[in-house]
Each structure stands twice: as structure tokens, then as C-alpha cells.
Symmetry: C2
Subunit: 138 residues, 2 copies
DNA sequence: AATAAATATTTAGCAGGCTAAGTAAATACT
DNA sequence: AGTATTTACTTAGCCTGCTAAATATTTATT
């Protein structure tokens, strides 16, 4: 049965990737997961926490905590929305902007390592499979 | 560039899977990750914590914590090794044995959902790619 | 035999990520 | 207008998972 293995493989690959690039992130004073949040802000600054929970596919409380620690570390800052008093908008600081390049490089390096030995066609194929699986989980 | 997407896809798929079957695990009074530890004990009971860190590919302190909470919940128990006073051996209780079937079913269900729409050949192919990637990360 | 080094586990402390329950502001309803 | 509901976020508490430092036991060295 190949099927059971696939779930396991993905689990292992994912956790192993996390482990490996967490070391690199630590040098930027970042923790695994925080890179993803910052990434969302690169592509769309001035975003509400609610939007972040959707983009990151996680719970509101998780965003609260993550933003709070990222704020404490100086990567982002928050401002209350002037119109709607409930919502809190998140912005990148210069420090948060500055880690964009290094993080992108860390990711690229990790990807290269991951895909070594796979031809362009196979990568294309793999990508299609992954897209399908991602859709299946929605 | 397909390459960057692949890393992201795997990340998303993995976390989405976690989210989804964590609900099912909760009904067994289990937390995501604990299923993996129990799984190792099904295939090889009477195992040291050091062996668990290798099998789970995690840090010793993580095993300590996980075993401790699983012990508190009655899924496993520990005994000191009579020969080597440093090592601690972990065993399944009946409760820990009893969740084997339900957990396997949860996994199977998750896999089915994940792989829906992929032919047998494609699953085979995907599995090969994943094996390669797993090897690449070692 | 006495000291040094290695091994197995633990503890403390941090962060992501979750649930459940709470607060505050905005919208809907009567 | 006044109450009820919804929405955005927060807090408390738990667990995985990590690092760094501590403890205890075993093995290696001299």
C-alpha cells in the first residue's frame, strides 16, 4: 500500500524542512512560522489580523500571539483602524522589511535541497499533484 | 518558477492535514503528534526514549515531555532499565493499545481525502518523488 | 581507584498553534 | 432608541517542539 506512506512522507518532509531551516531563521532572530506571517505582509502591507488568520489558515488567537511577539521584537507594529474600532491593522517596520531578502534566500536554498535530482518535468508533475492534494483538503 | 511553490504546497498540505485530523484525534483524548509516538510503540514495544527520539526525529526533551503527558493520560508507562540506570523504557498500556485501530482509521481516511482524484500510477509516481525528497533532506 | 568524558534523561523557558471563554465594538432587529 | 447578535480580537491554559543548561549514570583514561 503506497497510500499510507504518502501521508507519512509529507509529514516527515515537512517537519524535517522546519527543523532544517529553523536554524537559519534563528540567525535572523526569527522562529519558524513567523517567516510566513511576514511574507503575507510583504505582498500586502496594511492588513487586518482577521485577514492574516485567513491567509495563514490559522486561528485568531494564534495571530494575536504571533503579532504580539513580532511586535515586541520590532518586526511589525499595529494601529487601530480609525473607522472600525474592533479591527487592528498590522504593518511592517524597516526591520521587518529588511529580512525579506534573507528569508527568501533561506527558502530558495531549502527548495533546492528538497528538489535535488528531480527533472523539470518531474517538478512540474509533482507540483500538479500537490495542487490537487491541496484542493482536496479544502 | 514552480520550485518555490512546491515548498509552500508541502507546508500548507501538512498543516492543513494536522488541523483536520487533530479534531478526530481529540475524540480519542489525543493531541496531534502523540499518534506518531504511539505508532512507534505498536511496531516495537519496549523501547528506550533515546530510540524514540531517533524514530520520531526530534529532540530528547520533546520525547520526555510527550511521554510524560501520555503517561499522565494513561496511554503508556515507563520502567527504568535494570541494567543501565540512565535509560528509561517505554511501554504501551491497554489504553494505548486500544487506540491503534481508531488512529489507523483516522489516517486512512485522511489519506483517502488527500489522494482523491489521483490514479494509481500517479500515486506511485508521487510516492517516488516524496521518497527522493525525503532522502534529499537527510 | 580516581578523575574525566560520554550518554540518557530532565528541567526551565520560549514560540507556534490550538480550544474555550471573555471583552469590546459594530450591526441587526424589534 | 434599546436590546440582541455578530464580529474582531484577547486571555488563559494546554501540547508539540525547540534550545540551553543541569543531573545522574556509565564508560574511558590515567
Amino acid at each position: 500500500m503506497v497510500d499510507n506512506e504518502i501521508r507519512e512522507h509529507i509529514d516527515k518532509i515537512s517537519s524535517q524542512m522546519r527543523r532544517q531551516y529553523s536554524e537559519a531563521l534563528r540567525e535572523l532572530d526569527l522562529h519558524v512560522g513567523q517567516d510566513n506571517l511576514l511574507c503575507k505582509l510583504w505582498t500586502a502591507d496594511d492588513i487586518t489580523q482577521m485577514q492574516l488568520t485567513e491567509l495563514l489558515n490559522c486561528e485568531p488567537s494564534t495571530v494575536t500571539n504571533m503579532v504580539k511577539t513580532l511586535e515586541k521584537k520590532g518586526f511589525v507594529y499595529r494601529k487601530k483602524d480609525p473607522v472600525d474600532g474592533r479591527v487592528s491593522r498590522v504593518y511592517l517596520t524597516e526591520k521587518g522589511l529588511a529580512v525579506r531578502e534573507p528569508i527568501t534566500q533561506i527558502w530558495r536554498k531549502q527548495q533546492d535541497k528538497l528538489l535535488k535530482g528531480l527533472t523539470a518535468e518531474n517538478r512540474e508533475l509533482l507540483n500538479k499533484f500537490l495542487q490537487q492534494m491541496e484542493k482536496n483538503l479544502r
